[in-house]
């Protein structure tokens, strides 16, 4: 399963859904024209709509890995140091000068 296939599936699903909507609106205007009542959707349009939704949802959900919902997975893998590091308050007066600096 690849991302590209997922994206294509989403597009196809949305197009199917749009097509269904268009068909239904056409159906209703036709019925209104003939002064018939609108009782229920024809089976093929309903199926088309559901199929479109199913394909789009599959494309969006099944072809990618989701991030873990608990925040802990993210946080537990960080080191202590990264919690204490505040880049906007950075100070350079530490031993780094003697450890890493030029020996000159």
């Amino acid at each position: 399963m690849s991302h590209a296939m997922g994206r294509v599936a989403v597009v196809v699903g949305m197009l199917l859904l749009c097509h269904t909507g268009y068909s239904v609106s056409q159906l209703r205007s036709f019925l209104r024209f003939n002064e018939d009542e609108f009782t229920s959707l024809p089976l093929d349009m309903m199926l088309e709509g559901l199929l479109g939704v199913a394909i789009a949802v599959w494309g969006a959900a099944a072809t990618q890995t989701f991030k873990e919902i608990r925040a802990i997975e993210d946080i537990a893998s960080k080191s202590f140091e990264s919690f204490l590091h505040r880049p906007n308050f950075i100070t350079f007066s530490h031993r780094g000068k003697n450890l890493f600096g030029d020996i000159s």
Binding site: A71, I72, I75, A76, K78, S79, F80, E81, S82, F83, H85, R86, P87, N88, F89, I90, T91, F92, S93, G96, K97, L99, F100, G101, D102
Partner: protein, 289 residues
């Protein structure tokens, strides 16, 4: 840290991006990666190029490698001649060279030009801290936080400054602010618990015990929280002014924490070592009467 085989420039770029997003301060590794893989090929990185250059410039200042730092700051100045961010980098460079007065003058000029520039206020506090002027730094930072109340870094820094001055009550207040911003982060609960435990007294130790428990609920791998829970639980269990029912509860907490610590140390030790007995001995030493 030296790499035995130099990583490709794409790997280096990925690493730098990850460190940028996760706020890591691996300055010597960043400069190393720049010198070995990324330096010559950075023009291929597209839009990310300037952010990478800024990141490496700050890392170079951190390891006091002025050759690389000056070179990169010059590149940035040529590309963005009128940028506040580049001026900020120049102020950082002055700070690294310990020319604090020039740096403060530069920051004051930036603040005058744009008084919503939060970075400039914060760097002023950092420079005062560098010079050892903790009380002035605290005053500046408190003023800043009055204006920009939701700045998490600011509260964290203020907490540290108060701790450096041993003003635990105010440090606890700052740590509580951080919990308000990040209730799901185990680290901030642990911090508050550490401060409260240090303040001492029955109420504070109970408070510490509950926050250590919350930290453990959020992250069951945190050794510091287990040790803290053990210490606060055993200190309450041996305190004469605590009623007997609560004493029993706290000693149960302490022994549970001790068991967890032993199992976790046990899991990470090679099978032949005798560290289990060593640990039991250390627990005895850890009891504070």
């Amino acid at each position: 840290m030296q790499y035995s085989t130099a990583p490709s420039w794409q790997e280096a770029r990925e690493k730098l991006r990850k460190w940028r997003e996760q706020n890591e301060r691996k300055s010597d590794e960043i400069v190393d990666l720049w010198m070995t893989s990324l330096g010559s090929k950075v023009s291929k990185a597209g839009d990310e190029k300037w952010m990478i250059i800024e990141q490496v410039a700050i890392a170079a200042l951190d390891v006091h490698n002025y050759g690389v730092a000056d070179d990169l700051i010059l590149k940035l100045k040529e590309r963005f001649p009128d940028s506040d961010r580049v001026r900020f980098l120049q102020v950082l460079r002055l700070q690294a060279l310990q020319r604090y007065d020039d740096a403060l003058k530069g920051l004051d000029a930036m603040i005058q030009r744009d008084n919503t520039n939060s970075g400039a206020y914060k760097q002023k506090v950092a420079i005062l801290k560098c010079q050892g002027k903790n009380t002035e730094a605290i005053k500046e930072l408190a003023d800043y936080l009055n204006k920009f109340m939701s700045d998490q870094e600011g509260w964290s820094e203020l907490c540290d400054l108060y701790l450096a001055e041993s003003d635990y009550a105010r440090a606890a207040f700052c740590a509580e602010e951080m919990i308000l911003h990040n209730p799901h982060n185990y680290f901030v609960h642990q911090r508050l618990a550490d401060i409260r435990y240090t303040m001492g007294g029955i109420e504070n130790t109970k408070f510490a015990s509950s926050h250590y428990s919350q930290a453990l609920k959020l992250n069951p791998e945190s050794m510091r929280a287990y040790c803290g829970l053990f210490l606060s639980g055993s200190s309450l269990a041996t305190n004469p002014r605590v009623p007997a029912t609560e004493k029993r509860e706290y000693s149960q907490i302490a022994s549970w924490a001790a068991k967890e610590i032993s199992t976790r140390y046990g899991e990470n030790q090679p099978p032949s070592s005798n560290s289990a007995e060593m640990l039991e001995g250390l627990f005895g030493a850890l009891q504070i009467q």
